[in-house]
Every structure is written in C-alpha cells, then in structure tokens.
C-alpha cells in the first residue's frame, strides 16, 4: 500500500500529492480487490480458507489480502485524506476566508467519490441507518452542546426556542405543502408523491446546518444576540427535524393514507412535545449523575473523560430506547454537565475531553461529508427539473417567510429587537448540511420508491447553499456592517456588568417587577445552595470577577515572559532600554498562585469568551510554554540576583519608571503620612484626605534610597504567606503547577534575608497591602515591568 509521506508545504503541491495519493491507493485497492475477490468474498474468517484454497505448494513469501482490512482501511484513508486536505486548506491563508470548511470537505468527498466511481470500486458501508444514528450523529451533537456559551443562550432562550422550534415547523410544513401542490401539476410527472412524502421531505430539507455561518460570524465578530440566534438554531434544529422525521415516518408506515384521522394528528403533535421535553429531561438527569460521579474521581483522573463521554452517550441511547429525542437529550446532558464537570475534573482531563470531543465530531462530520461527495458521483440519481428547482426556490422562500414573520413577533417582546439587517443575515445563513443529507439517504426505500429523487434534490440544495451561500455570506456580513460585538476582556467591564446585573435585579425588586433576571438570580442562588454542594468536589467559590482578574494577570505575565525572554541581557541594561518603552510588570508570585487558582477558575472565564469555531479549538499551547519559560526565567533571575545583589535595585531614585499610580517620588512626607493613614484605614476604607492612590509600602523610612528601595521591595517573607492566604490555593493539581510554585520562592527568600532587618511593622495589613506593591516593585527592578492588569491599547 502506498505509504503516506509527509507533504511539503504549499497548497498546489499539496493538492497534487493528495490526488496522486488517492489515486494510487485506490488503484492499488481496486487492483488487489480484484485479485482478492477471486480468492475470498466474505469475512476475515475466510482469510485462512482463502490461503488454503489453492493447494499451496510453496509457502508464499508475500501475501496480499485486502478484503480483510478493506472497510477500516478505507474509512481511515478517508479521514486521513480529509485531515490532510484541511491542513492544506489552512496553510493557504486566504482560503479559509473565502470559503467555509464544509466546502472543502465536500470537495474532498467528491474527489474520493470520483476516484471510487472511476475505479468501479464499492465504497465502504459507512452510511446506514444504525451507524449514522448510533455512531456518527451523537459526537456531532455532543460537541455542539458542550461548547455552547451558556449565559447568552439562556438569556435569549425564549427567542431561540420560539425561532428554532417554530421556524423548523413552519419550514417543514411550508416546503412540504408547497411541493405537494407542485406535485399535483401533472406535467411534472410527480403525481405519485403523496402528501406525507412531501412533508417528510420538507422536514428533512429544513434541517439547517449553519456551521459556515457561525464560522463567518465569529470571524466578523458580530454581535452576541445574532450569534446566539444562529447557534441556538443549529443546536435545536437537528433535534427538532429528527423528531419530526421520525413522527412522519411513523405516519407513513400507517399504510392507508386515508386512515389518518385528526386524532392521529393530535397524537402526533402531543408526541412531538413529549419527545422533545422527554429528551431534555433525560439529558438533564444524566448530566447531573455524571457531574455527581466526577466529584469522586480525583484519584483516577484518567477515567474522567470516559465518564463524561459514556454518560453523554448513555443519555442519548437511553432516550432513543424510549423513542424520545436522543439529540435533545445529549445536548441537555452536555449543557448541564459542563458547568460542574469542568470544576471537578483535573486540568488535563478537561483538555482531553475538549480535544477528544472535537476529534470525534470532526471525524463524524468528515465521514458524512465525504460520503456525501461519494454518493454524488454515482448512478443512483434521478433528476427532475421541476422538483429540484422548486425545492430550491421554496427553501429560500419559506425560510424568508419564517424569519421575517417570527422575528416580527418576537421583536415585540424583545427590548433589543433584531434589525432588518440582522434578519437578512439570519435568513441568508440557512445553509443545509450533513444532517439533511443523512436523513435523505436513510429514507427507507420501501416507503419511498422515489428515494433517488429526494436524494438528488437534497444534494442539490446542499451544494447550492453550502457553496453559494457559504462563500458569499462573509462578504455579505461585512457589507451589511452588522453590529459588532463589544466584548473586551477588561476587569472594569466585568465589574460594571456585574454591578449592572445586581442593580437591575434590585430595581426590579423595588418596582415589584418580575423578569428573567430574577429567574436567573434565583437559579443561581439555588445552584449555589444545593447543587454545587452536591455536585462539586470542593465547594470553591467562583466569582467571575476574580477569575477574570486572575486570568488577565496570567495573560499579561505570559506576555511579559514571552517578550522578556528575548532579551536576557543584564538587568540594568534591560531597565535602561525598557524605561523608554512600554512598562510592564512581573508578578511571578501572583502568577504561581494564579496558576493554581486558574485550574479552578479558568473554566468560568472560558465561557465568557464567545468563540465557537467548529473546526478549531483555541490554541492553548502558550500556557505550557509560558510555564516553562517562566521557570527558566526565574532561575536566571535568581542566579543574577545572587551575583550582584544590588544590581536590580541599582539605578537611581530618579529612575522614572513609574506607571499609572505613581509613587510620589519626591514627596516622602506625604508618603509617610500616607503610610500612617493607610495603615489604620485598612479596614475602614475611608480616607477622606487621600484622593490619590498610594501604596504604602514601607513605614518610617528615612533616606531617599531606602525609601526607594522600600517602595520597591517589600517584606518578601509575606509572599509565601500571601500565596497561602489566597483561598483557592490548594494542591489539587500536583503537576506542573507545583513545580512552578516551588522555584520562585527561594528567589524571594534570598532577597528577604537582606531586607528583613528593615522590616519594622509586619502587620498583616501592611504585608497584604504591600504584597501588591511587590509585584510592581519587584518587576521594575528586573526591568520586566509588565503590567499584569493593564491592557495596552
């Protein structure tokens, strides 16, 4: 078999190699297939039989048996091919801007399909009903449910449900009915398609797969509400269309069309609701169970991902057993589980879960798209101009109708209505995808004698929407200049928003109004009181403000380190150089404690950043790298400090490297006054006479140099305490985090010896307060000065 070689960079050669590869392998495959066919037809058990069928006179040195590995081999080859194509796709920078990844996958599929068709090979049975519904679909749905940003989703829940639910229904029935009417026209030769079949077709063709739209939105950073609408629709749409599909199939199975009475229709509606809600209910239960179990897995963290996946899958299967909607179940399970699981599992498990989920869903999607491409090139098509054209037209028309009608109504209730532009975008993002194709492909032939027609029509719609709409939606969004999101990560913003939430809730209480902020508040309280105690391992508090703050510090520290590592020169030189540049601060001590804190808190922050890119995860390699760099850095710091103790504090008091909150450089009296005052008011926090922000580092110091030093360097020995007083500091992750913690401490202690004598007051207050200064001061010496908190704009 042709071995896979590493592809040289460059998209052109990439493509060429891919093509050659595909051709070579399938040629070889088909050749050996021919030969293998003659020897053995069935299963691997025939292998032995095959080899012994002909009287073997000689032991053959080389044997070839392709049929044994055919199915897995080809499936693997497909997946690999798609991955290579993706690599090539992303290597060529401009391409992802031009077209969505689903286009690429389809093209690869077409390629493979043409190869298979050309060599007259039988493609592996990737797609049949049970394989699709049991193996291919769950990972896709799980992934989209897991990575959903929960807060915006729940804030917009009403609108989303209204839009996704009713939209799917309107589309399905609208398209179905209109096509039925078209079929009545004798001239088109579609008379034998009766109403139910059309309705079924309508339901499967209305399943939207707006991954392309989402990718574009994320790149264009459109406003949150719009994003959430599309996202929510994507999430619920699959579930709803499958439910509808199943119900209609059940109807179709009732042989006599005329037997369907209003009772049945009512039963159908009721079933729809039961299936939907039942699925969600199941999902929530399983979510809670798995969250509960992850509470106890701290000693065997290797099985944590397993638990997450198995429970999600189990929720799907359990729901399917009862004919409830497995898709909605697995979605609900993922959403419920995520919050608690993230806090319980270790960092590595969390990463594993994330990546594994992405991987599984990517594999499924790839297989489906390739299969779609494969089946495009084939003999099982039936082309009927009327049907197909009308399908296309009706899809667009009904989507437009549903968008504008539903949003018109929903806008009355929204305090922040969707503009016409937004609605146009939503209409245009109705790209069909793998879901529709699968459902079409899995139509039972017995009930649908004209299945091929449906498949062809579906394929046409998919190709049209994916290629044409997928490619043009980017420019459209930019052209329409949709309102952008204003998500900045800043502490101020976080604080203000928090304040606003509480303020609103308070105001509503005063007015006696009841709104969803209340609901959210109540849920949060319930959550804190009961759920978290049961489901979370150690009930650590999560405050998004604190976590964001820590995250920002961490980020800045990482940036600092990454820039700092580039100039490992003497510190004074560094300091000179950096004096004129942007000044940033190091807070290594903070960073270590942050690391521990972040293993708990980072999850909270993750969900605030709205970045759902179906095909990629945000690279987080910088963290590990930064840790390494930080450790190395601190070693070098320590060494250089040992050599020349004074070196870092060398420069003159006049060194002007103060930032925003200035140390009053010449004003020692004011400063001493401040120290006195602020010491006392640590707990009162009422300083009428101190409008300026001063950090009292050291009390009662005389000389300028001393004061300068003191300002910079502070009771270091408070630092280890400082880390310990932080509430989140606990050694749950004894891995890398610990190592990082250990090393810097000697660093500070070394300095500590020097300055211990100067320390006169060692109250908790001053140490705590001055701990803050340390970070600033300390770094300034090292010229690193990277503000942990400031975002230089």
């Amino acid at each position: 078999m042709a071995p896979l070689m590493l592809l040289p960079p460059g998209p052109g050669s990439c493509r060429l190699l891919l093509l050659l590869l595909a051709l070579a392998s399938s040629e070889a495959a088909s050749d050996s297939n021919e030969s293998a066919n003659s020897t053995a037809q069935d299963a691997p058990s025939a292998r032995l039989a095959a080899s012994s069928r002909e009287p073997a006179e000689r032991i053959s040195v080389f044997e070839l048996d392709y049929s044994y590995v055919q199915v897995p081999y080809e499936v693997t080859l497909w997946i690999l091919l798609a991955s290579l194509a993706k690599i090539g796709f992303h290597l060529y920078r401009r391409l992802p801007h031009l077209m969505p990844e689903s286009c690429l996958l389809i093209l690869v599929g077409v390629l493979v399909g043409s190869v298979i068709f050309g060599t007259d090979h039988k493609s592996p049975p990737v797609m049949d009903s049970s394989i699709y519904f049991l193996y291919l679909l769950p990972p896709i749905v799980l992934e989209s449910g897991y990575f959903m940003p929960t807060r915006p989703f729940f804030e917009n829940l009403g609108s989303i449900l209204w839009w996704a639910g009713l939209g799917a229904l309107i589309n399905a029935f609208g398209i179905g009915l209109s096509l039925y009417l078209v079929c009545q026209v004798q001239a088109f030769g579609l008379g034998d398609l009766h109403l139910l079949q059309n309705l079924l077709f309508g339901s499967l063709i209305s399943a939207v797969d707006p991954v392309a739209a989402l990718a574009v939105f994320e790149e264009a950073r459109v406003n949150e509400q719009l994003y959430m609408m599309i996202f929510g629709e994507a999430l619920l749409n699959d579930g709803i269309s499958v439910v509808l599909y199943n119900i209609l199939i059940a109807f179709t199975k009732m042989h006599k069309f005329e037997d369907i009475e209003p009772v049945d229709i009512l039963a159908g509606c009721a079933r729809f609701i039961v299936v939907g809600c039942g699925g969600v209910f199941f999902g929530i239960i399983f979510g809670f169970i798995s969250a509960f179990i992850t509470r106890f897995t701290q000693n065997i963290s290797a099985i944590e991902p397993l638990i997450v996946f198995m429970f999600s899958y189990l929720s799907y299967l359990a729901a399917e057993t009862l004919y409830l909607s497995g898709i909605l179940a697995i979605t609900a399970c993922a959403v419920t589980m995520k919050k608690y699981v993230e806090e319980n599992v270790s960092q590595t498990s969390y990463t594993t879960i994330k990546y594994f989920m992405k991987m599984l869903s990517s594999v499924s999607e790839t297989l489906i798209f390739i299969f779609m491409g494969v089946s495009t090139i084939g003999k099982n098509h039936e082309w009927n101009w009327a049907f197909i054209c009308f399908t296309l037209v009706f899809c667009q028309i009904w989507r437009a109708i549903s968008v504008f009608a539903l949003f018109y109504v929903s806008n009355q209730f929204r305090t922040f209505p969707f503009s016409f532009k937004d609605q146009c975008i939503i209409f245009y993002s109705g790209v069909r995808g793998a879901g529709s194709f699968s459902l079409a492909f899995l139509l039972p032939l017995s009930l649908f004698p004209r299945k091929k027609l449906f498949v062809t029509a579906t394929l046409v719609v998919i190709y049209f929407t994916v290629f044409i709409q997928g490619i043009t939606i980017g420019p459209l969004v930019r052209y329409l200049d949709v309102r952008k999101t204003n998500k900045k990560e800043s502490i101020n913003e976080e604080l203000h928003i928090r304040l606003m939430d509480h303020l609103k809730a308070g105001m509503e209480d005063v007015c006696g109004q009841w709104s969803h902020y209340q609901v959210r508040d109540k849920f949060k309280k319930f959550d804190h009181k009961y759920l978290r105690k049961i489901l979370i391992r150690k009930n650590l508090p999560k405050s998004s403000i604190v976590s964001l703050y820590k995250k920002l510090e961490m980020k800045q520290a990482i940036e600092m380190v990454e820039t700092g590592i580039l100039s490992p020169a003497a510190f004074s030189a560094l300091q000179q150089a950096q004096r004129t540049q942007e000044t940033k601060r190091l807070s290594p001590e903070d960073v270590e404690s942050m690391r521990d804190i972040l293993t708990h808190n980072l999850y909270q922050v993750r969900q605030r950043t709205l970045s759902y890119n179906k095909y990629n995860l945000k690279p987080q390699s910088s963290e590990k790298q930064a840790k390494e760099i930080l450790i190395r850095r601190q070693n070098t710091l320590r060494e250089s400090l040992r050599e020349g103790r004074r070196l870092p504090w060398g420069p003159q008091a006049g060194a002007k490297n103060v930032r925003y909150l200035s140390f009053p450089y010449g004003k020692q009296q004011a400063w001493r006054r401040n120290t006195g005052a602020t010491e006392a008011t640590d707990d009162d926090s009422s300083e009428p006479g101190l409008p300026s922000i001063t950090f009292s580092a050291r009390p009662q110091l005389g000389s300028l140099r001393e004061s300068w030093l003191a300002r910079e360097v502070i009771p270091m020995k408070s630092l280890p305490q400082g880390t310990m007083t932080l509430p989140f500091h606990d050694s749950r992750d004894p891995g890398l985090g610990r190592r990082a913690v250990v090393r810097p401490r000697p660093l500070f202690l070394a300095l500590d010896e020097e300055f211990e004598s100067r320390e006169e007051s060692d109250e908790e207050a001053s140490t705590l307060r001055s701990r803050w200064t340390v970070e600033r001061g300390h770094s300034r010496e090292h010229g690193q000065s990277h503000s942990p908190l400031l975002r230089r704009k």
């Binding site: 917009n156 829940l157 609108s159 209204w162 509400q225 929903s410 209730f413 929204r414 305090t415 922040f416 204003n486 502490i491 101020n492 604080l495 203000h496 928003i497 304040l499 509480h502 303020l503 809730a505 308070g506 105001m507 509503e508 209480d509 005063v510 007015c511 006696g512 109004q513 009841w514 969803h516 309280k525 508090p541 405050s543 403000i545 604190v546 703050y549 510090e553 942007e582 002007k656 490297n657 103060v658 930032r659 925003y660 909150l661 200035s662 450089y665 010449g666 926090s685 009422s686 009428p688 409008p691 922000i693 932080l726 509430p727 307060r769 942990p788 908190l789 975002r791 230089r792 704009k793």
Partner: protein, 214 residues
Amino acid sequence: MGAAHSASAEVRELEGKTGFSSDQIEQLHRRFKQLSGDQPTIRKENFSNVPDLELNPIRSKIVRAFFDNRNLRKGPSGLADEINFEDFLTIMSYFRPIDTTLGEEQVEQSRKEKLRFLFHMYDSDSDGRITLEEYRNVVEELLSGNPHIEKESARSIADGAMMEAASVCVGQMEPDQVYEGITFEDFLKIWQGIDIETKMHVRFLNMETIALCH
C-alpha cells in the same frame, strides 16, 4: 389620589417630567404606596419591606441611590431623608429604555444620564471622582456574596481595575503624576465600547406578566 380631575393633571405633569406613560405611573404609584405604607413619602427603612432586596449584595448602594440628591437633581451632594412619589419616579426614569427614535442628541443625552446615575453609585462622597477607596468598596460589596473571597483579593481586583481605568483614560502617565480618581469624563470613556442601552433598563410592564425574553 384625590379627585380624578386633579389626579390626571398630576399624572400628565409627571408624564411630561419623567417620560413614563400614565399606565406605568399608575402602577408605580401603587407600588409606591405599598412600599411607603400609604404614606406620602418613603424613607430608607421602608426599603426593608422588599424582601428580595436583602439578598442583593449592593443593596445599600441601591437604596442610597434613591436618596441621593444628585440623582434627585436637588443638589450636588448629600442625601435626602425622604422622597415623595415624584422623586421615586425620577429615579425610576433612569431605567427606562432609551427611545432610539428620538434624535442622536437625545439618545446621547439619555445615555449620559444613565451613566451619571451609575457614576453616582460609585462615587459615594460626591466629590466628582471615583477614588480607589470607593472603587474598592464597590468591589468588596459585589464580592460580598461569596464568603470565601477575602477582602484582600477584592482589594487587589479593585486596584487592578483602577489601573486599567487609568491606562484607558490617561494613557501613559508621567512618573510623578498622581492619578486622582476616575472623573465622569473618564468614566464615559471606559463605557465607550459597552452599550448601556441594552443593559440598563427595566421593563415596566404589568406586574402580572413574566417577561421571558429579552
């Protein structure tokens, strides 16, 4: 209320001053009566009748905001002892949704009003600046719901936020420049990117309805 005729004249006057519709005014009046215990004015103590407010971490600030002379437009500082219905409405009017159909200027004006209200919440001593202590106070209150977060963490967060604000507002500072505090202009700058329209409003609907969507 008194005789129907004078009542509606009052209502119209209030409508004009505060921008609420007469239905909303009626409803809020009912609520006012409930809170005040049928008295013509509300005092701070009356707010303890609102049970859910007790659970709010910033309740003291909220209650204070009602009596703040700056919000009531009665003076540059200080607290009123009691407020009447008109004052109540004035405060509530800060939370009306911004009517985007009015001109650009009006929208900007409304926006400023809301932000000023917020500013007054932070700036408790009415000196026109949010100092570090005041900011710390706010953060501590916000985090007071969480029993595990220590004061010290809250402080550092406030400090960090202050520094961030300084960098936004003043940019690169001279070495011996002291950043006094966030003034209202700086505050506006910070809020530049965040749209307050979607956030700072309360839906004054009928009390029976539960608003599920935005």
